[in-house]
């Protein structure tokens, strides 16, 4: 870039330490960011990345260490301090008010006023101007309520909000988790433009391919410390992964061996809101991947197959017998299980313990009338805990204390007391770290090896292409192309998805 690396870095952290109770989140961490670079920050969950950016955003204060902005030591006591320093943080969890419009969300706290009254006309006009300047047409009408937007659109509103004031340092925490390939590409173009204007960008992601595409340097954190920094121009994936997990991964996305059995699911002309005449077959021991952009209607298909939004027409045949699925209870009886897209909203009861969640679908097995059978419950819970290697302090630990990867394993594990014939996975690796992703893949292999039929929905194109035996390219609630996964290239899939 045109910004010389000489002179003080835009941001430098030295010896940052932060403890929460007994656990050390950051242990003398170092980090630096230049003007006009995208600096990727990677590491497994619990490596200290989130704590680091929260310190920069003024949410946490370090116990020890120094933060220098432009060579000057600074103290970031709260979010207002971070704002003054030009540090803008985009959280992983969406923080929009669903009951306010897009424009109101973007200018929350800085609403234009006239004689002390809210000036709505200017508010909307400025939001539209900002949307167009940032080339974010995907946001749509700025008068829409944020709660009515898709997750991807909400993410873009967050980004627009962060960029609505001059930022010197922009921090993004897994911004693409909910974005499709096209939206990701658009976001990256925007980041590059900001970088060229001299903004320093810290980019956190679990997806190493992305980092290769967007970042200039990449730093790996593990156990609260910096393990190493690479120039992306000399990208070495193996070394990076070794830094992250302390061991080497053989293959990024190994495909499970294919031994398809009989047809277990036959879907014919299925229609429902967002599902537009879908027909396909699924065999035992097979992974059928649904590749599509966010908003293509894949989640709607999953919800229809699981009986949450019942089909309006069409037929479902399971193992040769026609079935009617009008509710999740029907779906379970037919041998269908769903790992939903949003585990905190739809997958888990966050107030409950690990054991509570694992035993919940099987109350019929361990409670007879007023007689709960503790031993039977413990059996169900322990089988799931050991079969899925769920890391927990005990079966009665609150589910919210687990890492994202382990929570996701609980969502898998809760169905497995009586394994379903057909398992639908909707974005199963969203928000889980590299190690847990690999475990998830191994899990899918194992289940498929046992003869389960898997429907895999994922916005991560390499993931869905490499894990699936067959690929259904999905657009506008419809399968536009079906192929063996090794007989189609990512470029062909992309071309299908982006065709008008």
């Amino acid at each position: 870039m045109s910004f010389s690396p000489a002179g003080p870095p835009l941001l430098a952290l030295a010896g940052i330490t932060k403890r929460f109770g007994g656990t050390v989140a950051l242990d003398g961490a170092e980090f630096d960011l230049r003007r006009g670079e995208v600096h990727a920050l990677v590491g497994e969950n619990g490596a200290g990345k989130s704590t680091l950016i929260k310190i920069l955003g003024g949410i946490h204060r370090p116990d020890a260490g120094e933060v220098l902005v432009g060579g000057e030591p600074v103290e970031i006591r709260d979010v207002a301090d971070a704002d003054r320093l030009g540090i803008r943080l985009i959280h992983q969890e969406l923080s929009l008010a669903p009951n306010l419009t897009v424009a109101e969300n973007i200018f929350l706290g800085r609403e234009p006023t006239r004689f002390g009254l809210l000036n709505r006309r200017r508010l909307f006009a400025e939001a539209e101007k900002l949307r167009d300047e940032l080339h974010l047409p995907e946001i749509g009408d700025v008068r829409t309520l944020a709660g009515d937007l898709s997750v991807a659109q909400q993410q873009l509103v967050e980004i627009a909000r962060a960029l609505s004031v001059q930022a010197r340092i922009l921090i993004l925490d897994e911004p693409t988790a909910a974005l499709s390939e096209a939206e990701t590409a658009a976001l990256f173009a925007k980041l590059r433009r900001l970088r060229d204007q001299g903004v320093g960008i810290i980019y956190i992601s679990h997806r190493l391919e992305e980092i290769r595409r967007v970042a200039d340097r990449v730093t790996v954190f593990r156990d609260g410390r910096r393990i190493g920094t690479q120039e992306v121009s000399k990208f070495d994936l193996r070394e990076l992964i070794r830094w992250m997990v302390g061991r080497e991964l053989k293959e990024r996305y190994p495909r499970p061996p294919c031994r398809p059995g009989n047809v277990v699911l036959h879907v014919e002309h299925l229609c429902a809101p967002g599902v537009n005449d879908v027909s396909f077959e699924l065999r035992a021991g097979e992974v059928l991947g649904f590749a599509g952009l966010v908003g293509a209607g894949r989640t709607e298909l999953a919800r229809t197959l699981f009986g949450i939004t019942p089909a309006t027409s069409g037929a479902l045949e399971i193992a040769g017998r026609e079935v009617t699925v009008r509710s999740p209870a029907d779906a379970r009886a037919a041998g269908i299980a769903l790992v939903p897209e949003d585990r905190k909203r739809a997958g888990l009861v966050m107030t409950g313990s690990v054991g509570f969640n694992l035993a919940l679908p099987w109350t019929r097995q361990w409670i007879r009338g007023p007689f709960p059978n503790a031993a039977r419950r413990a059996g169900i819970v322990n089988r799931a805990l050991s079969a899925f290697a769920i890391k927990t302090a005990g079966s009665e630990q609150c589910i919210s204390a687990l890492s994202g990867g382990n929570q996701q394993k609980v969502v898998f594990g809760k169905w497995m007391e009586q394994p379903p014939r057909i398992l639908i996975l909707d974005e199963p690796t969203r928000g889980v770290d590299v190690g847990a992703r690999e475990e998830m893949f191994n899990l899918i292999h194992r289940l498929v090896g046992q003869g389960m039929a898997v429907i895999l929905i994922s916005s991560d194109l390499p993931e869905v292409m490499n894990l699936s035996h067959r690929l259904a390219v999905y657009r506008d609630g419809h399968i536009v192309r079906e192929a063996r996964a090794d007989a189609i290239t990512p470029e062909e899939v992309m071309a299908e998805l982006t065709r008008n």
Binding site: F306, I308, S327, P328, A329, A331, R332, L338, P340, R345, A346, G347, L348, V349, M350, T351, G352, F356, A359, L360, P361, T363, R364, I367, G369, P370, F371, P372, K414
Partner: protein, 304 residues
């Protein structure tokens, strides 16, 4: 649960010292406390189920008045059996309407049951033009509900409260139904995605709450020897107080039936103790309010 027991013990010792002549811990006095809390506790048991699934039932106070009145009005047409059946039928109807509205529409339970409170109160006042309906002394069984002492010492309302406690406690803590209520209160969507029938459970919970309120209403009328159409005002708030003091989360998903029982006992001890200590009734309100605030504050802080 332990802090609740501790709070209860502290209150008992405190009033034993404060109340003149050290008469507070006298067994007769404690049985009195139990008798006085029985109506509130029964309402609170039902309310616990409702709050646990993230709802609220403001209609129980009015249901107490309406079912008491309906029961008293039915006594001349078939005795206690007719009275009890009529009261339960009314409760079933009100609970079902509350539950169906909550489950099938997007109306908030607060509003649904607020409206139902007004409807039930008005219905109670229609009887006998708002005048009390005396219960004839010939209705010995019905009058026994509120006044007889089994074995000469155990009041029937306390026995019924114990029965209601065991029933709702077992239902909540030992059955599939109860397990599912925790799931619904903790995360409706996740419960739905697990295949739990939300509507069925929700309707059942509101029906149970209204049924317990009708039982409380009959006991209340029996205790007064008369059905008072304007009785039961504010009972719903007292029941909610017992539930939250007992550690049930107002957002749902967390809470226990024994906790609610102790919550009702704590409020009962406060009422009785402050009375016997001769505290002016205006001050009693203030003290009760502050105790509820403190209890919930400590509970919220502990959970953080």
């Amino acid at each position: 649960m332990l802090p609740l027991f501790a709070a209860m013990a502290v209150l008992l010792v405190f009033f034993q010292i404060w109340v003149p002549n050290g008469q507070f811990l006298n067994p007769e006095n404690l049985i009195d406390v139990a008798q006085q809390i029985s109506v509130n506790a029964m309402l609170a048991f039902g309310m616990t189920l409702v709050i646990l699934i993230g709802g609220i039932d403001l209609s129980v106070g009015a249901v107490v008045a309406l079912t008491g009145t309906v029961a008293a009005a039915s006594l001349p047409h078939g005795g206690a059996a007719a009275g009890i059946c009529a009261a339960l039928a009314v409760a079933l109807l009100i609970g079902a309407v509350n539950g169906l509205c909550a489950a099938r529409t997007r109306m908030p339970p607060f509003i649904i049951t607020l409206a139902m409170m007004l409807v039930a109160r008005g219905a109670a006042l229609r009887f006998n033009e708002g005048r009390p309906l005396p219960i004839p002394t010939s209705e010995t069984f019905f009058l026994a509900l509120g006044n007889t002492r089994v074995g000469g010492w155990l009041p029937v309302p306390v026995l019924l409260m114990a029965g209601a406690f065991v029933f709702t406690g077992v239902l909540l803590h030992r059955t599939r139904f109860g397990q599912h209520l925790y799931a619904i209160g903790g995360n409706r969507e996740a419960a739905r995605f697990t295949g739990i029938h939300l509507a069925r459970h929700e309707v059942m919970v509101y029906v149970l709450c209204a049924a317990l309120a009708s039982l409380a209403g009959m006991i209340h009328a029996s205790q007064l020897y008369s059905a008072e159409p304007s009785s039961g005002q504010g009972f719903e708030l007292n029941a909610i107080a017992a539930v939250v003091v007992g550690g049930t989360s107002f957002t749902g998903g967390i809470g226990t039936m024994p906790g609610t029982l102790i919550g009702a006992v704590i409020i009962g001890i406060l009422d009785k103790g402050l009375n016997q200590a001769g505290v002016h009734f205006s001050l009693q309100y203030i003290i009760k309010g502050l105790v509820i605030l403190a209890a919930v504050y400590l509970d919220v802080r502990r959970r953080k």
